[in-house]
């Protein structure tokens, strides 16, 4: 036994070593999960590595401005999801969530058809990290422009 090492300090050193190892293991596991633990794929990932036609996947990105088209039947909507690099056309039949608007985030569950259209069976609106009242004050230029465009339509 080393002289002068108090048991208290020995316990502290041992515990710190154990904690560092534990946190390291946790970080490694999280790093290994970085692809598997994604809730959805980005359009650029779908375009680069197209899933099989019957494979159920989730596609997440921004609804492009001016891309939402409602079909003649009134319940089918077509729109384009982009992430700045790639764009994927999406078709969905059903009731869209209240926060589903152009220029906002969306997660579509479904599969990629042979023609490159994503056939969604379910839509989830993704909210961003901004919280602001309805007044224009405090909005960024893009948001103010979007607000004005929405009023003009």
């Amino acid at each position: 036994m080393g002289t002068g090492i108090k048991p208290k300090h020995q316990r502290l050193v041992l515990l710190v070593i154990a904690l560092v190892a534990l946190v390291g293991a946790g970080l490694l596991a999280a790093w290994a999960l970085r692809n598997q633990a994604n809730y959805f794929y980005l359009p650029s990932e779908i375009v680069a590595e197209a899933p099989a036609p019957d494979e159920a996947v989730r596609l997440g990105g921004m609804v492009e401005m001016g891309s939402i088209n409602t079909a003649e039947d009134g319940v089918t909507v077509r729109f384009i999801v982009g992430d700045g690099d790639a764009r994927v056309p999406v078709s969905f039949t059903g009731i869209v969530p209240a926060l589903f608007v152009e220029g906002s985030g969306v997660v579509a569950e479904g599969s990629l058809a042979a023609d490159g259209t994503f056939i969604a069976t379910n839509l989830l609106a993704k909210h961003d990290e901004n919280y602001m009242p309805r007044e224009l004050e405090g909005m960024t230029t893009e948001e103010v422009r979007a607000e004005i465009e929405a009023t003009l339509e």
Partner: protein, 243 residues
């Protein structure tokens, strides 16, 4: 810190600090929530459901803060053998679990109108649910150990190991694509408009004081339980000697 190693000195301090924390905490929480619910306008997209923020966000922070407190108390218990550390860890578990549950419940209620779903298995929601399960496991383990009168060292190790989940919850929305939005509040930056931010911070401070008051209250209860048990044991031994 060693000044408070003496339970008698701790009890003298806790006796007046407990009601002070509880009263100030309740007044501040109720005031901030009233301010937020009557004063703040509807959000541009979410409408009035934005106001669940004032409960959801403090509950999430305190759910994670509760486990951080358990981990620190467990470290102090294992290294310095501080007599009050194990009691503090046990006392923080139930309020921490309640806040984790409130965070999940309010988030689910907010998610239905906003996202269009009650629940998804994304990184943030799943890791927060794991935290609630860790709390339940910790409560079961530490109370079983206390009932049997065994050492709480196993619970302390559980408390430290479980702390791995805290940075995972915090980073889950940054590391992985998730349905839950990325953090709105980062160091010195806020994406939350001041009309929502100030009631939110007020409610967070109020609920934190309330949390502290509840932990002190539970610590006093546990200490009183231990004293009562020791007295009963002494009496039983005296009775046995008298036979």
């Amino acid at each position: 810190m060693h000044g408070f190693a003496n339970p008698a000195r701790f009890l003298r301090l806790a006796k007046w600090l407990t009601p002070l924390l509880l009263v100030v905490g309740i007044v501040l929480t109720v005031g901030s929530l009233l301010w937020g619910y009557t004063g703040a306008p509807p959000d541009r997209l979410m409408g009035d459901s934005v106001k669940i923020l004032f409960i959801h966000v403090p509950a999430a922070w305190l759910g994670m803060g509760g486990w951080t407190a358990i981990a620190i108390a467990s470290l102090v218990e294992l290294v310095w053998r501080h007599p009050l550390a194990a009691i503090a860890a046990r006392a923080a578990a139930v309020p921490g679990a309640v806040f984790a549950f409130v965070c999940l419940a309010t988030g689910s209620i907010w998610g239905r109108p906003t996202w269009g779903t009650w629940w998804v298995w994304d990184g943030r929601l799943t890791s927060m649910l794991v935290l609630l399960f860790l709390y339940l496991g910790y409560i079961a383990l530490s109370s079983a150990l206390a009932r049997e009168g065994s050492s709480s060292r196993i619970a302390a190790i559980f408390g430290l190991v479980g702390a791995v989940n805290i940075p995972i919850i915090n980073r889950s929305v940054v590391w992985w694509n998730s349905l839950h939005q990325p953090p709105s509040l980062t160091m010195g930056n806020s994406a939350i408009d001041p009309v929502y931010l100030y009631p939110l911070l007020g409610a967070t401070l109020g609920l934190s004081l309330l949390f502290g008051g509840i932990v002190l209250m539970r610590m006093r209860t546990i200490l009183a339980d231990m004293q009562a048990e020791a007295r009963l044991r002494r009496k039983a031994m005296q009775a046995a000697e008298g036979l």
